[in-house]
Amino acid sequence: MAEISARRRLLPPYLLSAPALLLYLGLFMAPLAMTLMLSFNSFDFYKGILPGFSFVNYLEVVTDEYFHEVFLRTFGISLAVTVLCALLGTPEAYILHRMRNPWKSLFMLAILGPLLISVVVRTLGWALLIGDSGVLNDALIGAGLIDEPIRLIFTTTGVIIALVHVLIPFMVLSVWASLQKLDPAVEQAGLSLGASQFTVLRRIVVPQVMPGVLSGSLIVFALTASAFATPAILGGRRLKVVATTAYDEYLNTLNWPLGAAIAVLLLIANVIIIATYNKVIEKKYAQAFQ
């Protein structure tokens, strides 16, 4: 009797979460598994995809200098974007936190509003801004500040600038959430003990919002490493990152197995980096925060 009732009690939660679980399995796990399987197939230029099980694609990625460059570039860009988002987003969140209404709501909207617009549209906007004869260069040349246009489009710098703009709301939101938990009297306590406003920020506010900065960094890093639209549009034909390279293999070369192998490697690298980062951070902050 007891067994039956225990089983009865266990059943409803599973039934209730079944639709979501099925959706997750069908739409996420299945394609992932198929990509994984695909990556072990091989490819022939004339015969197309050949079923089988081999590591040739992985071997190719691991040994080819070109792919090394692409992976290094991707993680270099991710790192730069993450650091810039942290450096810009943290003060931005703090300023927002200190603002009063109606300015607070207004600026909050300005920061979060772009999330409502497609990344492609925003990136095209950046292309118009930073192009060789874009608004920025025209203005600078018109003002007589430079003779030659500054080359931003199709450069790493251009891609980084646009990605920072696309991803900074995630950092601001994450830091904002930890700022909400901050007791305003703690800042006053710091001031009353003789610390300057800047010292209070550095010694008291920043350490306390660090968990927010770090979780924001995780989100930004993961999203940059797998970003597609922005590098595709602003990076042009030559400045490839992992996501655009995988896309090329799929659609231009039609080498699906190699594309799949690249995608799987990106996923693995991302997971390893994020998991290690998390471990290190947890260790460092386990003492003060729980």
Partner: protein, 355 residues
């Protein structure tokens, strides 16, 4: 000249006046409590002394120097916040050491003074703990140590004990007072707890609706309230409306309902409609024949060392407290007499006049 002076402090938020023309002088080493109901402007006053709020009008003067426009970080005032506001990411020792670091005190000196102050608050064994690993009372003491270690000229305490439960609160009141006397820091305590204010301070400053209504030693404020608000706010009292019917030198006769009481009126300022305040402990229960008034016990409550009675009398319902002397006390429904001494009766002007 007094050490800390508030001169005509006013704070307005739009049309609303949170603090209204507060004048207060505090001597060096004195312990003054700002006492008043919630929302009367105590915290706002404290924040203006600390430099976190800019007064709309008036000046804050410490040791002869005008501090009104000095930054909070330059005032050298120690503050204990209601929420303690400890730095959660630093251990106790680092919390206490912070103020000394800001003052560029050398490392050895810092270590010595931190330990010394932690000993003062009996927390020397907790130096390496984080705030979240401490109890409420211990956090409170860390906050106190952090404020005291910089040897401030003025110590401000904003309801420092209100988050503690009754027993620890009493212990901390005694401890706080003895520490304050030991270090001799000029201290202002904000509280809405009248017994806390009276038990700890040299003087209490009673606030109501942004104004200081009475400043004086706890005994004086309790025994000689200047107006209705103070007599009602400081301790329990029986407030009765009456009318002065006769005067005889320093004494007046006041008619309340069908009865007439005698009361003292030293400066002869009392006349017409008045309020009479009689503290419950100034009334005594007697046999019906011996009392000046007769009444019937409605309810009684036992509070350990004393009883509280509600007695129906010709002048209204009266609260009466009696020491628990171990003898049988009057029961509900019993007829009793009520007596008092003329010194226990305070007559106040009917309408509190704030000037």
């Amino acid at each position: 000249m007094s050490f800390l002076r508030l001169e005509g402090l006013v704070k307005r938020y739009g049309d609303f006046t949170a603090v209204d023309n507060v004048e207060l002088s505090v001597e060096k080493g004195e312990f003054v409590s700002l006492l008043g109901p919630s929302g009367c402007g105590k915290t706002t006053t404290l924040q203006m002394i600390a430099g976190f709020e800019v007064p709309t009008q008036g000046r804050v003067i410490i040791d002869g120097k005008d501090m009104t426009d000095v930054k909070a970080s330059q005032r050298g005032i120690g503050i204990v916040f209601q929420s303690y506001a400890l730095f959660p990411h630093m251990p106790v020792a680092a919390n206490v050491s912070f103020g000394l670091e800001m003052r560029k005190v050398s490392k050895e000196e810092r270590k010595r003074r931190v330990m010394q102050t932690l000993e003062l608050v009996h927390l020397q064994d907790f130096a390496q703990r984080f705030p979240r690993e401490l109890s409420g009372g211990q956090r409170q003491r860390v906050a106190l140590a952090r404020a005291l270690v910089i040897e401030p000229e003025v110590l401000l305490l904003d309801e420092p004990l209100s988050a503690l439960d009754a027993k620890i609160r009493e212990d901390m009141q005694i401890e706080l007072r003895s520490i304050q006397q030991k270090v001799g820091t000029t201290t202002i305590l904000v509280t809405h707890d009248q017994s806390e204010a009276m038990s700890m301070s040299d003087r209490v400053a009673v606030m109501n609706e942004g104004r200081l209504v009475q400043v004086g030693a706890p005994y004086d404020a309790y025994e000689f309230p200047e107006d209705l608000f103070v007599s009602n706010f400081l301790g329990k009292t029986n407030l009765l409306e009456g009318k002065v019917t006769a005067r005889n030198g320093g004494e007046v006769k006041v008619r309340i309902g069908e009865a007439e009481l005698e009361a003292r009126d030293v400066d002869g300022s009392i006349d017409g409609r008045v309020n009479v305040s009689v503290r419950p402990e100034k009334l005594h229960l007697t046999t019906p024949q011996d009392g000046a008034l007769q009444g019937r016990v409605l309810t009684r409550i036992f509070l350990g060392n004393h009883w509280v009675y509600q007695v129906q009398s010709p002048i209204g319902r009266l609260l009466v407290t009696q020491q628990n002397t171990g003898q049988d006390s009057a029961r509900e429904g019993e007829e009793v007499g009520i007596s008092w001494s003329v010194d226990g009766i305070r007559v106040l002007a009917a309408e509190a006049d704030h000037g």
